[in-house]
């Protein structure tokens, strides 16, 4: 070998190194890209926030066995409290659950990342598991010192300063600053303002639940007045229909119905209470008053009849009439219902979970549950007053409301006949009832006695400040320091307008609930709401006045891709009308709607046998006796709700059964819905009546079509749309001319007297066209 040759080897080796490195690099790179693709710690934030990132994981996967519930707590280890999280292990004092800054020495991390399934947490048997990202979050959180925070919802809201925004000229009011700020952070820009027609329809539907009148539409389209929207908003807010619109979600929440529920399901008359709710919203009764009256109107100093009527809220629950039930079992059931409703409606907490054991996720002990229970346990009532044969429209305590009283004071009650009407209300028995904790929630397993109190974690019940009765409870609830009441309500109102609350789980602000998408905004609105005397109409004005609300509903592909759920409100959400509003829209736009407010619930058209096939055969609701005349054309919210067989066309459109408190409806899309819109005589009758009206008004088919379109879709028809519909109209007219028998049959739907002397074929054809319009997706959404 010559040195020369040997000389080369190092270079050769550097050569091979030179070559080897890129592949190693490549390989490593590949590894990590793969790593990211399959388990993505890539989007783990730099600084981990406990409330935002960590608690949701701990709560969802750990609290069940290591949470507030002492009875089911494993290894005496709890992760919901700071103390618990840093303590030494019960069976290995050397080790600690969490060692600040040192994941590897923290048993918590060891266990969630262990490859040994016998050590792994959560145990495979639980069918729960943590994703790589979640593990990384926890690792990083521990590394950063594992700081604990109080649950966001239990910290009283403070009014935050308005955040800065780039697009200075966009915001119309405070709301917009928060929204735009978040949007810009996502690199999103708001949509332009919606076209006037859509905006008007949106306003009308949101504030009155009814489509705009053709005249109002023309006016808006003409008017150049910059303040026109404010004017419109005011006129809508002052319309009596505003109260109806606002009442609908409240009736769901208050589980209002016209029957007692349970098997024989006799009739009840709580509608005067319903009339009061509408009245209260129209009078813009401040929210703190509104709920105080409903919770404790009877306990206010010399209460008015109106305030007593308001307490019907807590008597809307189901009441059994099944002979042979155990009295106490059902009495407890009623009190439970009130307690759960209280928790869900006002605190947005899943109270019911603490009935049988301490709450698994939230700091509500079983004892605390029954302490709240105690407030509602004082009513002088029975579980079973009488079975169906002795059925009454209301079990005591009740108030009798006479016609005369209505003439004088309670004018808002729309009573039809002379006989006095009965409504159930709250009245505590003279001697207080001792409340005991019920073991496993079973009525005949009483435990220790409990005092009237509320969950301390939310806001301690300061007995120096609050009386120990429902009135005190109401005071506690409306105390400015209360972290939930205002937040929960503004969130629900927001939900009404935008389809989703700032806290998506509007019924659960607890550990397991969703986090607010815009925490600052939520707090700002809540505080502002309280600062301005819980003024509901004002809140509504703020929302409808915001640029956020007024955006157009157009989704660019970019937004659809970047913000499909519209979490950042970068466009307006098109929402399908609720069951009641769908009916209202059809009746109103066809001119059939009877705009009467309140009164006994009515029984419009309903398919044969819905009641008959389910009833036990007993009671006056055994058969559905349909109403006639005006009663056929009342708003959806007045349709009689028999709990065991609610109006099918409503259920199909996600109306709730009113069995229990509901604060949010599903919004689904099913084929049965299509069938209802296409075959429900109500829609067909409306089409017929509108067709008759337009035909009798005369004019060319084009104009008739134009008018119909205008009324139903609340916008001007486009030429090509007119063209297409006209062709359809001609085709249908041709068909009906050939089949006159069909035409006649078709136009004889519904009891509303038909106009005489019209060309049946024209009516039929136009009716067909209108019916088609009612079935358009656009017709059944809020734009």
């Amino acid at each position: 070998m010559t040195p020369g040759k040997i000389e080369r080897t190092p270079n050769a080796s550097t050569g091979s190194l030179m070559m080897a490195m890129p592949f190693l690099a490549l390989a490593t790179l590949l590894c990590w890209t793969l790593a990211c693709s399959s388990s993505g710690p890539e989007d783990v934030p730099e600084t981990v926030n406990f409330n935002l990132h960590v608690r949701p994981i701990l709560s969802d996967r750990c609290f069940k066995c290591h949470g507030p519930d002492g009875k089911s707590r494993e290894a005496n280890l709890r992760l919901d409290t700071e103390e618990g999280a840093f303590q030494a292990l019960q069976d290995d004092p050397a080790k600690h659950v969490i060692v600040k800054g040192d994941p590897l020495r923290s048993e918590l991390f060891q266990r969630i990342s262990s490859p040994d399934t016998s050590l792994l947490m959560p145990p495979p048997s639980s069918h729960l598991s943590l994703s790589a990202k979640e593990i990384e979050l926890i690792r990083r959180w521990i590394q950063q010192g594992a700081p604990y925070q109080k649950h966001w919802a239990f910290i009283a809201p403070k009014k935050p300063p308005l955040p800065g925004v780039k697009k200075k000229n966009w915001p119309r009011n405070e709301i917009d600053y928060f929204i735009l700020h978040a949007m810009e952070a996502q690199g999103l820009a708001p949509n332009d303002e919606a076209d006037p027609a859509s905006l008007l329809r949106r306003l009308c539907v949101d504030l009155t639940g009814l489509p705009p009148s053709p005249s109002a539409l023309d006016e808006v389209l003409k008017s150049k007045d910059p303040g026109k929207w404010e004017k419109h908003t005011e006129s809508l807010l002052s319309s009596a229909h505003y109260g109806e619109r606002m009442a609908i979600p409240w009736l769901d929440l208050a589980r209002y119905a016209d029957s007692h529920g349970y098997q024989d399901d006799g009739m009840r008359t709580m509608w005067p209470w319903r009339d009061w709710v509408i009245h209260a919203f129209n009078e813009n009764l401040s929210y703190d008053q509104f709920i105080t009256w409903q919770i404790a109107g009877d306990q206010l100093p010399n209460p008015s009849r109106e305030q007593i009527l308001a307490t019907g809220f807590n008597r809307n629950h189901k009441i059994t009439q099944e002979g042979g039930v155990i009295d106490e079992e059902y009495r407890i059931e009623y009190v439970t219902d009130r307690t759960n409703t209280f928790g869900k409606a006002f605190l947005a907490l899943t109270y019911e979970c603490a009935k049988c054991h301490d709450h698994k996720y939230d700091p509500i002990s079983q004892k605390e549950y029954y302490s709240s229970f105690a407030f509602f346990n004082q009513v002088n009532e029975k579980g079973l007053v009488g079975d169906i044969t002795l059925a009454s429209p209301g079990d005591p305590p009740v108030i009798q409301i006479s016609s005369e009283e209505i003439r004088n004071t309670l004018r808002f009650i729309n009573k039809k006949d002379s006989a006095p009407v009965v409504a159930m209300v709250m009245k505590d028995s003279s001697k207080p009832r001792i409340t005991r904790l019920l073991k496993r929630g079973v009525y005949d397993q009483p435990g220790d006695t409990v005092d009237m109190l509320t969950p301390a974690a939310v806001l301690p019940f300061d007995t120096t400040k609050f009386i120990k009765n429902r009135l005190g409870l109401a005071q506690w609830l409306t105390d400015p320091a209360h972290p939930l009441t205002a937040r929960v309500f503004v969130n629900r109102i927001w939900q009404e307008f935008f389809g989703r609350g700032l806290v998506k789980s509007s019924g659960d602000f607890g550990m397991q609930g969703d986090l607010p998408t815009h925490p600052q905004l939520l707090d700002w609105l809540a505080v502002d709401f309280m600062e301005h005397g819980w003024d509901v109409k004002r809140l509504v004005r703020q929302i409808t006045g915001s640029a956020t609300y007024r955006q157009s509903a157009v989704r660019s592909p970019k937004k659809q891709q970047q913000d499909p759920e519209n979490i950042y409100y970068s466009y307006s959400q098109r929402l399908r009308l609720s069951a009641e509003l769908l009916r209202d829209h059809v009746l109103a736009s066809s001119g059939l709607l009877v705009r009467e407010i309140g009164g006994p619930s009515v029984k419009p058209y309903q398919p044969k046998g819905v009641w008959e096939s389910t009833t036990s055969g007993r009671g006056e609701l055994a058969r559905y006796v349909q109403d006639h005349g005006d009663k056929l054309y009342r708003r959806g919210m007045y349709t009689f709700i028999k709990r065991t067989a609610p109006p099918p066309s409503m259920l199909v459109f996600d109306a709730v059964g009113r069995d229990q408190c509901e604060v949010k409806r599903l919004r689904t899309n099913t084929p049965i819905q299509a069938l209802v819109l296409m075959n429900d005589p109500m829609v067909l009758e409306a089409s017929r009546v509108l067709a008759e009206t337009l035909v009798s008004e005369g004019g060319k088919p084009e104009t008739q079509i134009e008018k119909a379109f205008h009324r139903i879709l609340s916008r001007k028809i486009l030429p090509r749309e007119r063209e297409r519909i006209l062709q359809y109209y001609q085709a249908e007219k041709k068909r009906f001319s050939q089949e006159t028998a069909r035409a006649n049959a078709f136009v004889h739907v519904g009891e509303f007297p038909s106009k005489t002397g019209l060309d049946q074929r024209e009516v039929a054809a136009l009716m067909q066209v209108i019916h088609m319009m009612y079935n358009l997706e656009e017709a059944s959404v809020k734009p």
């Binding site: 793969l34 155990i326 079973l384 592909p557 609610p646 259920l651 099913t670 075959n679 089949e739």
Partner: protein, 483 residues
């Protein structure tokens, strides 16, 4: 550039390619050994979109013949001669053990035992005892599995019924059918996955409630749809007069065209869903009537179910309809037959009830079997609780009534994955307590789900922060009744 350099360069290039191939080879090998690398991670697979069984199912569908009002086990499948011997004697307190009573008998100071007024015989290879009121069911005992030891928590109809259907006594949780629709999806895109058929017998009725077929917090697509034979099989299904499927088609085309337009304008994906739903509704209008028209059934089938099967709304016609729906791929067909609540006049009413259901129930099992459908269809027959072994009120000479009894009662099952010709569980000779192999309602649910390939602990839905299950936090499988 001198030769040496050129040589180096080439060498390098070849070498580079070669090496990179090797590098990738290594990766490939790695991926072979670690399939997870390019696959979904374990937990992702676990949380796969529901709509498929977790494992190979034994049954694909359920037909639940619910006997609403609670038929007496002591006059049907739980033969207790001792009660006849001790007729009129008081129920020993040692047996009752302070069991809570309904308001109807709680103030009764005597609890006179009463035996069945109807004879019992043994049938089939299994030698199961069946009362003379049920000759039809007796003739298929070797195809069915009688469970004598079901027990429930509720003692009143509404909660008991609700418990059976939704796994909870109160509140509106999704009902069994909704859970299945959610867990298994629909087999036939032209029909709902969960249908309900209602009928009323000639005995004391207790009513049913739409919350029994509610979708609860699940999507409304899982809501039970009430079917019936006869002119209007599904609410709102029929076209309005003056409409035929042609004009309906024309209308749908218009609607679709306009909806497409608004989609182009707004880009709201909901619109596409809406268009699809309208199409499906149209298909339902064609699919359903041909299903619910029973008149075309051959005579021997009509004889099999009995002549009532042509009377719309009768239990028999619902059985026949149930078979057709199931045949067409409906996941869960829920029948309710009212009238089994014999607090009094049991001797008078129960035979009428039995007459109405016995023949058709047996026919359904036979019919499914002869179509090869019984292997994949699970049939369940039973009420919401049992009835007391003592008489409610005064014991008459030749008539009596029985109160509600939650501690033990009998149901039977047949088909998909169920062990045929078995009598499972034992009650004491008073027919009051269970002595062997109790089956709770949750156990039953767990087992049903299992037979359909679903793990009852994995079939969950998160609502308001909690993972709900049909079996709540309980329920264990009953291997003894599974084939």
């Amino acid at each position: 550039m001198n030769d040496l350099q050129r040589y180096r360069l080439q060498f390098t290039r070849r070498h580079f390619l070669a090496k990179s191939m090797l590098g990738l080879g290594g990766l490939a090998l790695g991926s072979l050994m670690m399939p997870g690398l390019f696959r979904k991670k374990e937990e992702e697979i676990l949380s796969m979109p529901v709509g498929l069984p977790h494992f190979a199912p034994k049954a694909k569908r359920i037909i639940y013949l619910f006997q609403n009002g609670a038929p007496s086990q002591l006059e049907s499948f739980d033969y207790k001669p001792l009660l006849n011997k001790m007729q009129g004697q008081d129920l020993p307190a040692s047996v009752r053990m302070g069991q809570r009573l309904t308001g109807m008998t709680s103030n009764q100071e005597k609890f006179p035992l009463v035996g069945s007024a109807f004879g019992f015989k043994q049938y089939g290879q299994s030698g199961a005892w069946v009362s003379d009121m049920f000759p039809g069911i007796a003739s298929i005992v070797d195809d069915i599995c009688i469970v004598k030891t079901i027990h429930t928590d509720a003692i009143n109809h509404d909660p008991a019924l609700t418990f059976f259907q939704t796994g909870a006594q109160q509140g509106n949780r999704p009902s069994m059918g909704a859970w299945l629709s959610y867990g298994l999806g629909s087999e036939n895109q032209n029909l709902p996955a969960f249908t309900v058929l209602l009928s009323r017998g000639r005995g004391n009725g207790q009513g049913v409630y739409s919350k029994l077929w509610t979708n609860g917090f699940l999507d409304s697509i899982h809501q039970g749809v009430v079917f019936s034979s006869g002119p209007d099989p599904v609410l709102y299904l029929n076209n309005p007069v003056g409409h035929d499927s042609l004009s309906r088609r024309a209308m749908l085309d218009e609607i679709a065209a306009f909806n497409q337009g608004s989609f182009a304008h707004t880009g709201d994906p909901e619109i596409q869903a809406r268009i699809a739903q309208y199409e499906m509704s149209y298909r339902m209008q064609t699919a359903v009537p041909e299903l619910t028209d029973l008149s075309k059934e051959p005579d021997h089938i009509i004889k099999m179910y009995g002549p009532d099967c042509l009377v719309p709304g009768s239990f028999a016609s619902n059985c026949l309809l149930a078979r057709k729906l199931s045949e067409a791929g409906v996941r869960f067909v829920q029948l309710y037959h009212q009238g089994w609540d014999q607090h009094g006049n049991l001797v008078g009413e129960m035979p009428l009830q039995a007459q109405d259901v016995d023949r058709a129930s047996a026919a359904l099992v036979r019919d499914l079997k002869q179509r090869g459908l019984l292997d994949e269809t699970l049939v369940i027959w039973g009420g919401e609780f049992g009835r007391t072994n003592y008489c409610q009120g005064d014991l008459g000479r030749n008539n009596y009534g029985r109160d509600h009894h939650p501690k033990c009662f009998s149901i039977w099952m047949a088909g998909g994955g169920i062990k045929p010709g078995v009598v499972y569980g034992e009650t004491d000779e008073f027919g009051y307590n269970i002595v062997k192999d109790p089956v709770s309602v949750h156990d039953l649910h767990a087992t049903l789900l299992h037979l359909l390939g679903l793990d009852h602990e994995q079939l969950t839905f998160r609502h308001l922060g909690r993972r709900y299950r049909l079996t709540d936090v309980e329920g264990s499988l009953v291997p003894g009744i599974m084939a």
